[in-house]
Symmetry: C2
Subunit: 146 residues, 2 copies
Amino acid sequence: MADPTETPPSLRELTTYLLSRTGKEARTRLAERLAADGLRLYHHAALAALADLGPHTQRDLATRLRLDPSDLAKAADLLAARGWIDRTRDPADRRRLTLTLTAAGRTRLAELQAEARTVQDAVLAPLDPAERATLHALLLRLHAGG
Amino acid sequence: MADPTETPPSLRELTTYLLSRTGKEARTRLAERLAADGLRLYHHAALAALADLGPHTQRDLATRLRLDPSDLAKAADLLAARGWIDRTRDPADRRRLTLTLTAAGRTRLAELQAEARTVQDAVLAPLDPAERATLHALLLRLHAGG
DNA sequence: CAAAGTAGTGGGTGTGAACCCACTATAGGG
DNA sequence: CCCTATAGTGGGTTCACACCCACTACTTTG
């Protein structure tokens, strides 16, 4: 008896279809967890960028995350309200706000990374470590070269 | 000099992040092409399901595509208006509508599959055929086993 | 020092996805 | 025949996401 939710072969044979489905699945699962604390994926991304690449002006961070500056301002409001970033006026150019990760922000980021890895373990469960590494390497090439 | 849009390493090392990004990229690109003809991805999916798995009632097709029955009804309106499916009342149960692909629908589906493969070639451009096969096999496992 | 440009912000808009309810038509069990 | 259940449909709502404009504050340039 056929599974009534089985994917049509015409779609299953499209790599991009599988990419899109599994990607959306992963995204949705993590988004649901973050939503429990009122966060969006871009809050996580913003903390990660500040941790990895150092302080940014809001403009630069918006560019990096491919977010509208006005949307990033709203995201920064929340991160600052939670005490995860400092927003300091640049004395050399008083229009600019420099966003810097706080110690609390670094701690929260570590937790968010742990949540992301939990979701990842669930999504990648069917693959063994070597296969996961292969997948990661291939996706990295797509991400860079796309 | 650092690329101002470079992805933070903390995110780049998450396979699920790459999955989500590349999947979204693929989905968006195909969606844009379909939008030129007023179509959504689920119109493509519906035609594919009818072609691969034969006629469905609207209920069954909605279940298979994980769409709300009410939303599928609207999609079926469009497909029928374009002459790509027949909607016939089931004589054994006059509540049911059986959706069947027409010859024109089969032709249009072939075109849509070709568009999907064009997008796929663009997205997978950085990979050689063997790597694409590997990626496909891994994603199939995730899709099935997830 | 006036004019033009840029950083940030508040308050919008439009869209697609997903969902949900009320309703009609039909079916089937007791 | 009545009662409950199911298929389809019309008309909504909610939400995230992406975008956009006007405005203030400040800087740079001619």
